[in-house]
Subunit: 196 residues, 2 copies
Amino acid sequence: MNSDFHIKSEIRILGIDDSALLNKNVMIVGTVFRGGSWIDGVLRSEITKDGLDATDIISNMIKKSKHYGQIRVVMLDGITYGGFNVVDIEKLHRETGIPVIVVMRSYPDFEKIKSALEYFSDGKERWTIITRAGKIEKIAGGKGRNPIYIQKAGIGLESLKKIIQLTSIRSNIPEPLRVAHLIATGIILGESRGKA
Amino acid sequence: MNSDFHIKSEIRILGIDDSALLNKNVMIVGTVFRGGSWIDGVLRSEITKDGLDATDIISNMIKKSKHYGQIRVVMLDGITYGGFNVVDIEKLHRETGIPVIVVMRSYPDFEKIKSALEYFSDGKERWTIITRAGKIEKIAGGKGRNPIYIQKAGIGLESLKKIIQLTSIRSNIPEPLRVAHLIATGIILGESRGKA
């Protein structure tokens, strides 16, 4: 399942970030990158704030893209999008056939998440999806920068580390996620801000 | 006025493209690039389809950006945005203090434009702005690819050519415009398509 594979320098990667929670519909942006070098495409879709549709919507956005046949890895910025819309990374991997890498700047505060989920009638289901995302590991960020935390589905740790090093050319966050963040914040707020 | 200047490899460039004409408000997207290498920021604003507000809105978008002090060149994809919303490049240069480069894949069909402008009550004013944009010159595209056509305000031809060569690393269109186009079409249509 979590197999390692050969990483080409121009491996196609889809990085997905969400935008600010201004409405019930939250825009998500995907950037199709070749390695860490340049953008081949931009995808956009909407998920529901605090809904449970993120997994299906991301999966469909990928499958209907003209880049679907080329994308070798999907990168997520954490597993909760649009508030507490939790992405089931095993299901996303299974439905698209593409390995999934979750990148986080810091270790998630699970106590805080668990408390927040108590306000959801389906909080238990969301918590199950969160725990199903597997072990969180701390690895080196790109080019000796700050470490990052990762989860994964359908990819081995060695391949994952190579992809992180290949694509983190500007910060400790891989380019597909850094640029998806710039686009998502720039489009919704008028000018990009903050970090992925 | 059209002076040449030293071009650093990481010169900050703002490339601006518009999106599909689906509504009265047409989204414009700006990408702040360092040379042809990577994106530092994304800007977004709206102009009126077939209006005459593009010059002022682009000028204001630039002046209120946190990148304003760093941007050394503005690149436009032709001078008509959102239908026939004509950009006055001399005014844009004067108001922002930043040189402007207009990039076109092909020589504009001025007869067609002139005919279309007959349907506008202020068609003469728009035509004056178009002629004021100055001589259209054919120059080499990046890396020996197809030639492009350019106009300019506040920059010499030698500096302009260096900037085109520096930034056209993926096609004969400079990266700031290529990526602005991918973002504008991707966000509005759900997936990027076509060429800047």
